[in-house]
């Protein structure tokens, strides 16, 4: 609202002054008859400016997004140019404005031409008005509250009209020089913001892509979405996370223009010296920016937290990636590659992290915790498949050794459980092959236990979980297979007819899972979040009896999910014991309580069927799961320190 007010005020006042001078001159020259046509001309000019402003805004809104950004860039540049011209012109000619106008008016009158005089007023208002219209459209487009801006502009113009009238009807005196200097300062800031925004929208329009590294992150100081942020962005065009290009543009405009506005009047600005200073300043800034954002361009720059890399047909880009040790996120973009869809980071032969199935144009990220050293980037299928990843700096040796230990221990658990899953699924399949429905039913719940213990890891492989564990209605009926399809055949249809192909495929998938967990990349944060996911699983479908709808063996799955969560926590216990021992002891306590809450439902080596539980029973189970899930959700931040 303030920029719109200042613009309205300043442009309005200039126009009002010019019209006032002409009107006063006409009155003094005894030509009051020319006043009416002059005012009509002024109104006509105002009308045209309004139409232009509205037309620009309508045209802008009618455009598709990219072209809109392009038009907004042009408008912002023109507006900034108009302001610059106005500031320069006023500084140069301000003191002599009145006499200049009077001279022109006298000439026009001397030539007997009322029209010329009316024309002067008309064109003066038109010029100021068009500048205002363009400037206001530009500000509206950046403004979060265009209606408030509109109100501000109307207010500014109204005040300007009043002031202008007051000045020239006598009495009110304004130090015009100071007025123009102060409003000039505000306008320089606003115009600098426009230049910076033009850089932003030009990038959005796809006109250029360089200098897009983030120059600063002001979110700590200015919270996005807050009032100060709206003020700062609205008034000065400063984004909360400005790019190098935007900051450069802002500085390159604001510094010389501010100097120009504040230069003591009376002392002539030596244009050539000023231009030279400005040019040197620009050069210095460009070099600084280049150093800041360019050092990585040979080596896959990032600010240490997110590193952008890409896949091309030629190979992994850049060929040498440099990152500091610690937590790194790799943001992988497929940049036009049709022979390559994978980006892997290898430690010797071992895959540390990867993205797969990345088609052209898409981006996927993955995070790793890296120790210092040299690794390999691998883009299978490219002309040059391998590149280098250099991880510099010093690692916190103690933490990473503990992380490695946690990962190793959890991987051992995965390997053991998937091996057990394969064995039991084969026995399950054999019972089906023999047509032994009773035996198959008896084996069903225990066969599923190892799967439910490691479910989040299985789910991370995309298609595996839907193939093995989908319930009726989770997938299209024609593609439904896996545990629950067999469950339905056994319990509802009471048959093994047609079950063999499904059972065989299930065994094949368990073998696939067994292979995948050998080398799946694991991080302590993931392990902790896996525990959280397992408890969410319990709450979503085991407590509700929605998992095993035909056999009602949900409590076996319930215990298995809880066991899996326990194993995950055991793996990170050394880290947690150091980082937050109170949290660890609370979690242990809650695990005990969950086990106790399940005790009433144990039967032999198994459990009662879910149908035996009433609302009171499920409520108690639900309470104990909730109490455990809460501290579990605090583990991830605790082990990441």
């Amino acid at each position: 609202m303030i920029p719109a007010f200042v613009i309205g005020l300043r442009e309005g006042l200039e126009a009002a002054l010019i019209v006032g001078i002409i009107a006063a001159f006409l009155a003094r020259s005894g030509r009051r008859d020319a006043l009416r046509p002059m005012w009509l001309g002024v109104l006509a000019a105002v009308g045209i400016c309004l139409a232009v402003g509205i037309g620009l805004q309508v045209a802008d809104e009618a455009l598709p997004q990219r072209q809109q950004e392009g038009l907004e860039t042009i408008i912002a540049v023109v507006a900034a140019g108009a302001v610059t011209w106005m500031i320069v012109w006023c500084r140069r000619h301000g003191p002599r404005m009145k006499s200049m106008i009077e001279t022109d008016a006298a000439d026009a009158l001397a030539n007997g031409s009322t029209i010329a005089l009316v024309g002067m007023a008309f064109f003066a208002v038109l010029r100021e008005g068009l500048e205002t219209a363009v400037f206001l459209v530009a500000v509206f487009q950046q403004s979060a509250r265009p209606v408030a801006s509109g109100g501000g502009a109307v207010l500014g113009i109204a005040v300007a009209a009043v002031l202008g009238y007051a000045i020239y009807r006598g009495g009110a005196r304004i130090n015009l020089a100071r007025f123009f200097r102060i409003t000039g300062v505000v306008l320089v800031l606003v115009a600098a913001g426009l230049v910076s925004s033009a850089v932003h929208t030009a990038h959005e329009a796809g006109w250029f892509d360089s200098l897009q590294g983030q120059a600063a992150d002001l979110t700590a100081v200015i919270e996005p979405g807050s009032v100060p942020q709206a003020l700062v962005t609205g008034m000065f065009g400063i984004q909360t996370q400005p790019t190098v290009g935007e900051v450069l543009a802002w500085l390159l405009y604001a510094i010389p223009m501010m100097a120009y506005v504040l230069w003591p009047s009376g002392r002539r600005v030596r244009t050539r010296a000023a231009a030279a200073t400005a040019a040197t300043l620009a050069l210095v800034l460009l070099v600084a920016a280049g150093c800041g954002s360019g050092s990585g361009s040979g080596g896959g720059s990032g600010d240490g937290k997110v590193t952008e890399v890409s896949i091309t047909n030629q190979g992994c880009q850049p060929a040498t990636v440099k990152v500091p040790a610690g937590d790194v996120t790799f943001k992988v973009t497929n940049d036009g590659a049709d022979q390559v869809t994978e980006y892997e980071i290898l430690d010797g032969d071992h895959i540390l992290g990867e993205v797969e199935n990345l088609p052209d144009g898409l981006t996927k990220s993955f995070s790793l915790s890296l120790d210092p050293g040299t690794f390999t980037t691998f883009c299978p299928g490219a002309d040059n498949e391998k590149g280098t990843l250099e991880v510099g700096g010093t690692a916190q040796v103690a933490a990473s050794a503990a992380d490695k230990q946690a990962v190793a221990q959890y991987r051992d658990y995965l390997i053991a459980q998937t091996a057990l899953l394969v064995k039991r699924t084969q026995a399950f399949r054999d019972a089906i092959a023999a047509g032994d429905i009773e035996k198959a039913k008896q084996l069903y719940p225990t066969t599923r236990e190892p799967y439910e213990r490691v479910e989040p890891v299985a789910e991370s492989f995309g298609d595996l979980d839907p193939l093995m564990d989908a319930r009726a209605g989770d997938v299209p009926a024609s593609t439904w297979e896996g545990f629950h399809k067999l469950e339905k055949l056994l319990w509802v249809d009471n048959t093994t007819k047609g079950a063999m192909p499904i059972a065989d495929r299930l065994v094949a998938n368990t073998l696939r899972l067994q292979g995948l967990v050998q080398s799946v990349p694991l991080q302590t944060a993931q392990i902790a979040n896996g525990a959280k996911s397992l408890l969410d699983e319990v709450a979503a479908s085991k407590i509700t009896g929605e998992e095993d709808r035909y056999s009602h063996t949900d409590l076996w799955d319930f215990q298995a999910n809880v066991d899996g969560a326990k194993a995950a926590i055991v793996a990170v216990t050394p880290i947690l014991a150091k980082g937050d021992p109170e949290l660890l002891s609370e979690i242990r306590q809650r695990f005990t309580e969950v086990d106790q809450s399940l005790d009433p439902y144990r039967e032999g080596s198994g459990y009662v069927l879910y149908t035996k539980l009433n609302d009171t029973d499920t409520k108690k189970l639900s309470e104990s799961i909730d109490a455990l899930a809460q501290p579990i959700s605090e583990v991830a931040p605790a082990v990441l320190q």
Binding site: M1, Q65, E69, A144, R145, V147, A148, G150, G151, G152, A153, V154, L155, I157, A158, V159, A161, V162, Y165, A166, R169, G171, A172, E204, E223, P224, G225, T233, Q239, T240, Q241, T333, L362, T363, K364, S365, G473, D474, V475, N529, K532, D536, A539, A540, I543, T544, E546, N614, D615, T616, T618, K619, S622, E623, D626, A629, Q630, I632, S633, A636
Partner: protein
């Protein structure tokens, strides 16, 4: 300058300031005393700016006669128009021997922008022998992956969407209309909803804490409404020209699991920042969404792939409400979520393909469950007649 002149000038300045201020507050919050005109080319409650409270009611026909239904529509039209105007249905104490015509709990309360919107389910046409008038667009909504629909809380022969800024006004309207309908229709299921309105054009939030509706269709854009929301006579059935189609879905949110989820994951599920609603890669809520900066399965990317004309044609006018129906029975879990309501010109090419995409890939699915579905043909506005008159005559 004389003092008088100065005063006149000051007055002029103040006047201008007032004008500027007035312009600046035009888009401010409207007062609870506002009424929404019931009659019009389109039914109210579709492009009407959302009110704070919802009472949704689905009914089944108990009588199969077209005359009975016509009579009911006339009565409902008259009653809804009265209540939308803030008026009672009848004097409270008219006859000591008769139950009051108006149940009374809205007496003394302003109209609170009450709207009543009628929808007709596919079975309405079957029950009344109007199969030939059933629009093709009313093809049954298919089953989507992981739907857990409760049949008794889904669908119905007809429905009323009642919205108001005051919950008592909304309840009063639905209750009285239900009463008037006794004998012709029976209540099948109801759903209450609420929405915190931040005002001044700001986007409300759902119970996941995220702004919901940033990229919603602009209901004030008549051209967009004609292309995406209002049924045209050329679409098939002429009686529904100027009407629309409503999809209702009760989406239960696993609130407790959601509240345990790290904020980083919450944001990456949606593709927007939680605080200011900025899309990934942007810095403020209404920044352009750049798909390549979002995760491939981000909710906003799946809901609107922004591929151009094809995805523009799919866009729907969303008008959903948050709900809290207490606890899920037998669990320590909430039964709360989003009662999703969306108006569109053809659900077969709008809601259905969108929901297929979401149901198959949206990571949000881990935290939600669809427990009810409804599909309704929404007749055009009354413009002097009564609801659904072109269909029933």
């Amino acid at each position: 300058m004389s003092r008088r002149r100065l005063l006149v000038l000051a007055g002029g300045a103040v006047g201008a300031a007032a004008a500027g201020g007035a312009i600046a507050t035009i888009d401010g919050r409207t007062a609870v005393t506002d009424t929404v005109e019931f009659h019009g080319d389109h039914q109210a409650g579709i492009t009407t700016p959302q009110q704070a409270h919802l009472r949704f009611a689905a009914f089944d026909l108990t009588k199969a006669s077209r005359d009975d239904v016509s009579r009911l529509m006339r009565q409902w039209t008259a009653a809804a128009a009265l209540m939308a105007g803030g008026r009672s249905l009848g004097r409270i104490e008219s006859n000591q021997w008769a139950p009051p015509i108006d149940t009374g709990e809205a007496d003394g309360l302003p109209a609170a922008r009450l709207t009543v919107t009628l929808g007709l389910g596919p079975t309405f046409f079957d029950r009344l022998g109007l199969e030939s008038q059933r629009p093709e667009q009313l093809a049954p909504v298919p089953h989507f992956a992981a739907d857990a629909l409760v049949p008794g809380h889904s669908n119905g022969d007809l429905c009323l969407q009642v919205c108001a800024d005051d919950p008592q006004i909304a309840y009063h309207a639905q209750r009285n209309l239900t009463r008037i309908g006794l004998g012709t229709v029976a209540l099948r299921w109801t759903q209450s909803g609420f929405l915190g309105l931040p005002g001044e054009g700001r986007t409300p939030r759902n119970l996941m804490g995220f702004k919901d509706g940033t990229a919603n269709l602009d209901a004030s854009d008549a051209g967009l409404m004609r292309s995406n929301v209002w049924a045209a006579a050329s679409d098939g059935q002429t009686w529904i020209a100027g009407g629309s189609y409503l999809v209702s879905r009760r989406v239960r949110i696993r609130i407790e699991a959601w509240d345990r989820t790290p904020i980083g994951e919450q944001e990456s599920i949606f593709g927007r920042r939680k605080g200011n609603g900025a899309p990934f890669g942007g810095s403020s809520e209404h920044d352009r969404v750049v798909d390549s900066k979002l995760p491939a399965d981000a909710h906003i990317r799946l809901a609107n792939p922004r591929t151009g004309a094809a995805s523009e044609r799919q866009r729907i006018l969303r008008r959903g409400y948050n709900f809290d129906d207490g606890m899920a029975p037998g669990l320590t879990q909430s039964d709360a979520g989003l009662f999703f309501l969306a108006y569109q010109r053809d659900p077969r090419i709008q809601f259905v393909p969108i929901q297929h995409r979401l149901a198959s890939s949206d990571r949000l699915n881990e935290y939600i469950q669809h427990t009810s579905s409804g599909l309704w043909a929404v007749p055009p506005g009354t413009a002097g007649g009564y609801l659904a008159e072109p269909l029933l005559t």
